[in-house]
Symmetry: C2
Subunit: 257 residues, 2 copies
Amino acid sequence: MIRGVLLDLAGVVYEGDHVLPGAVEAVHRLHEAGLPIRFVTNTTTKTKKELVSRLTGLGLEITGEELFTPGQAARTWLAKHDASPLLLVHPNLEKEFADTCDGPARAVVVGDAGREFSYENMNRAFRELIDGAAFLALAKNRTFMDDDGKLSLDAGAFVTALEYSSGKEAIVLGKPSPDFFEAALASMDCGPEDAVMVGDDAESDVAGALKAGLTQAILVRTGKYRDRDEHRFEPSPTAMAEDLPAAADWILDHRAV
Amino acid sequence: MIRGVLLDLAGVVYEGDHVLPGAVEAVHRLHEAGLPIRFVTNTTTKTKKELVSRLTGLGLEITGEELFTPGQAARTWLAKHDASPLLLVHPNLEKEFADTCDGPARAVVVGDAGREFSYENMNRAFRELIDGAAFLALAKNRTFMDDDGKLSLDAGAFVTALEYSSGKEAIVLGKPSPDFFEAALASMDCGPEDAVMVGDDAESDVAGALKAGLTQAILVRTGKYRDRDEHRFEPSPTAMAEDLPAAADWILDHRAV
């Protein structure tokens, strides 16, 4: 029985500049039913504040407290380890780290840097890594649905590149990190056995959530979903849904009463 | 007993703009002893013709017939498979592919593209791969010794990035591909059991050659060599040498008489 809901954002709630059909109403129905929601996104091209402001502008019911981003997880990590970051992130995200500490330890932080993934920037990060810096990946997604409707290279490609040459494994802070799912669940006082995750990424959202201990994870056929994705990664989704409204129907049918 | 010699170039014979101390004379001594030599390089920032011309300019005894490059192996592959290339290589290497075929099949060819490893070029290659193109890697080296004396990211990082996101494994044409070593050995009519490889890369040169069936592989402590590299990869080198002159001494002591 479901007592808490984790929702992915890009490809589930919105895509590019628009909200997906029925998504605003689906979130509203879940809220109305008294189900706590946390939005768990690997999007790293906007600060948390900008993302909330943009989504409320599109009519979505979302508060800062409901949104979990890898940028936020990275800030926590840096503060805890007294480390100053070398950022290889999207220019929009740099201000998220404006007031991070200036500690003696160093950490390379890689997000979806987009056009900032130049050879020069990648090599600078590589040299910091072999000189002893810690290695934080905001996410390790393979692909994302680009604005032109085709798949594009996501940050995971560049994280893997740096891992290969430095011999260092990145600490992944966003999905599918169990810590990330657990932090979101803890904030709504919900155990993994009572929660459901909804996403369009069979690996990072669905398999990730199930590996983190959730017993339910729904794969939607929107966003980056491609035919047969449900068979590509283990564990496979516990349910399939056409889109978020259909997933909301399933959740409302299975909610704790 | 040694009847044929495979030599790596960068970090063994030359570095940046200069020949390493004693290297020219070491090659001369091997030639004088009647030992056939093949230079097997993963360098992909120059055409084969330019490389021969540059090295002879530095005083090295080397002919086109003695030099094996991954670019040459890629041309052979493309012709055999009637495929036209999408090149993600160093601008200098593009002319090596000027007259390759215009066949219906497509192949992404990744070399050490240097500053051409932009997000845009990487994403173009990624999209060709998921649209069905074959995937050729001229090399998959992790690092190289850069002109400033520090290690830098080599092509292998970007090959691995594309493998991760496309789900396709690259066909590696240069070292440590057994085909590459075998082609070089065949051209001098030498079996792998009678040959020795000399290189500064414990993985690609040394472990690669031993996996390809050579019984002897010498790791030199020049170029990209770092302390304890001889313990980092399996199989480990059968001998260590300070530099190419010392390796030549070893080879001359072990040559077939």
